[in-house]
């Protein structure tokens, strides 16, 4: 049986009493102790302990900064408050965590393999980790990974899923080999259209026949220089929550395309049909719809490039400064497959905009840093709004953009509150 890091694995911190309770608890005891009088229990699986009785500390478990916000503890989903994203390169302890299933435990690097198979390879091929590291040239890129659902919490009618605010984004240094070099070594057939990844995590229902997530990217994206099979993040082995020992990294696309705990890549002659490729997951209506519209699956299109966006990372929202003091504003901006051309800030809800200093990206698909100095005309309450514009001339909207059933792609301007005087 595979083991998983989940709140119910017999973790260290459990008190003795709790462990005993868990051990003793039968369904009946569990139900009675919850004070349930009339559960329709006929179909309830017998041998489980509800999460109310489980605990563990994600900050210790994953070595995370204590200020990260736990959106969900099973599966683990943690978001980073924007002021913690001030570093130019996101350190591991400040990187958001998104999981669709249960994280694998007891990963053995000596036996780990990556298989490349599918309809569109000449023959399938399996590599050990050391094969991968030594046979192919290594590359390092800073790559922006943003969850497709970042910003979901602002949609109305509410869109279901984890209610991310703004912090499901990171830009770390990823080291690995180019996927295109690997695919060349395997040999592609001309009918290849998509690659799909497969991973070692498990479905929440523990059904071994279900994959929690198996997405991928079109072959053109797979063949980009920056699409990596990574084994290091910021110069160290990838932390377990982020995909140890091997992860696909396809910056600029929804982060769900960057499969963690990677053990297989299938080169497909159709659009990959793995778990969460199907509508409505990671898809938006092909044509815009009114809020709350029911959209049929055929009318939902796969998200590819993420939209232009920016985040104010300094100061933290809520800063109080004396009158006549200048305020430095800092942050990052990114634009999916494109580059950011301009970042502006406003202290009057968009009536006037001030241009920021904007760094070019370190490499393609890396976020860019902006800064500026603000003066405030009089005492009072202000909001600082930031707006980025990409190389196509498309800017972030100030309002929440097009409603979609699953609440993806909210790239509305980020804002912070400031009091002067």
């Amino acid at each position: 049986m595979k083991k998983h890091i989940a709140p119910n694995s017999s973790h260290k911190q459990e008190s003795n009493g709790r462990r005993n309770f868990l051990k003793k608890s039968s369904m009946a005891v569990m139900a009675a102790s919850l004070g349930i009088e009339i559960v329709h229990a006929a179909k309830l699986p017998t041998n489980y302990v509800p999460l109310a009785f489980q605990d563990s500390d994600p900050f210790k478990l994953f070595n995370k900064n204590k200020e990260l916000i736990v959106l969900n503890n099973k599966p683990w989903n943690l978001e980073t408050p924007p002021h913690l994203l001030d570093d130019k390169i996101t350190p591991a302890d400040k990187m958001f965590v998104r999981n669709n299933g249960l994280i694998p435990e007891n990963v053995d690097v000596n036996t780990w393999t990556l298989t490349v198979d599918g309809e569109s390879v000449s023959q399938s091929k399996t590599y050990s980790l050391s094969d991968l590291k030594s046979k192919f040239k290594n590359y390092t890129y800073q790559l922006t990974l943003e969850c497709g659902g970042n910003g979901r919490s602002e949609f109305f009618p509410p869109a279901s899923g984890n209610q991310w605010k703004v912090g499901a984004v990171s830009c770390a240094n990823w080291t690995g080999i180019r996927l295109k070099d690997l695919l060349k070594d395997v040999g592609l057939k001309p009918d290849a259209v998509y690659i799909g990844y497969h991973s070692a995590d498990s479905h929440l229902s523990n059904d071994p026949n279900k994959e929690p997530i198996s997405r991928g990217v079109p072959i053109a994206k797979a063949l980009q220089d920056e699409t990596l099979i990574a084994f290091e993040m910021n110069g160290s082995p990838i932390p377990i929550a982020h995909g140890f020992p091997l992860r696909l990294v396809a910056g600029g696309f929804p982060a769900s395309a960057s499969g963690k705990w990677l053990n297989r890549i299938s080169v497909r002659n159709i659009i990959h049909d793995g778990a969460k490729m199907e509508a409505p997951s990671y898809r938006v209506p092909c044509n815009p719809v009114a809020p709350g519209t029911e959209v049929s699956n055929e009318d939902m299109c796969i998200i590819e490039s993420m939209p232009v966006k920016s985040l104010i990372t300094y100061p933290k929202s809520g800063a109080m400064i004396p009158m006549n003091k200048k305020l430095e504003i800092r942050g990052h901006a990114w634009a999916g497959e494109l580059e950011v051309k301009k970042v502006q800030v406003s202290i009057d809800f968009g009536a006037t905009w001030q241009d920021c200093l904007l760094d070019p990206p370190v490499n393609r698909l890396a976020w860019q840093h902006f800064k500026t100095i603000l003066n405030f005309p009089k005492e009072g309450y202000y909001e600082v709004w930031a707006k980025a514009t990409d190389t196509n001339g498309t800017s972030q909207p100030m309002l929440v953009p097009g409603w979609n059933p699953k609440g993806y792609l909210n790239n509305a301007c980020h804002r912070i509150a400031v009091k002067v005087g």
């Binding site: 009339i38 559960v39 329709h40 109310a52 969900n72 099973k74 984890n162 309002l399």
Partner: protein, 155 residues
């Protein structure tokens, strides 16, 4: 000579069988000791006794919120704990909002694709609870900033 060999072989087979039986018995006892309930269930279903004591740490609520799960402690929240926290935590429930149709379609989605079981009589009560306590709240196309924690910004 042949007879002797045959008898010897029979003896060995007998001894081996006894050894295997003993081993099975020991393993069985070991598991029973670890997990005494495994033999006490006759079927999937469980009779719930109303007379058993409430586990003190589990029912604590504060300002109308059940502390351990974070659920609104309104009628039926125990049904949510029992039916909705096996695969994911109650966080996924409490983060989401929607009308009855939304919750109903979500349940159907989890039943058809994620392995959620039939909820039987509980379904109506679960839907009552969810559509009352986790109903949508209209906040305009962009809500006011909320929850700002003010602080003096140092240089």
């Amino acid at each position: 000579m042949d007879d002797l060999l045959k008898a010897f072989r029979l003896l060995m087979i007998g001894l081996a069988s006894i050894a295997v039986l003993l081993l099975i018995l020991v393993i069985g006892l070991f598991f029973w000791n670890q997990n005494p309930e495994i033999f006490s269930w006759e079927s999937d279903s469980v009779e719930l006794s109303e007379s058993e004591e409430l586990e003190p740490e589990s029912g604590i609520t504060e300002e109308g919120i059940h502390l351990e799960s974070g659920l609104v402690a309104d009628d039926g929240y125990q049904l949510i704990i029992a039916n909705c926290t096996k695969c994911h935590s109650a966080n996924l429930v409490t983060q989401n909002r929607g009308n009855r149709d939304y919750w109903k379609s979500l349940i159907i989605w989890m039943q058809t694709t994620q392995g959620l079981w039939e909820l039987g009589d509980s379904e109506e009560k679960i839907l009552d609870y969810l559509s009352k306590n986790y109903a949508p709240v209209q906040e305009g196309r962009r809500a006011n900033l909320s929850g700002v924690q003010w602080y003096e910004l140092e240089d």
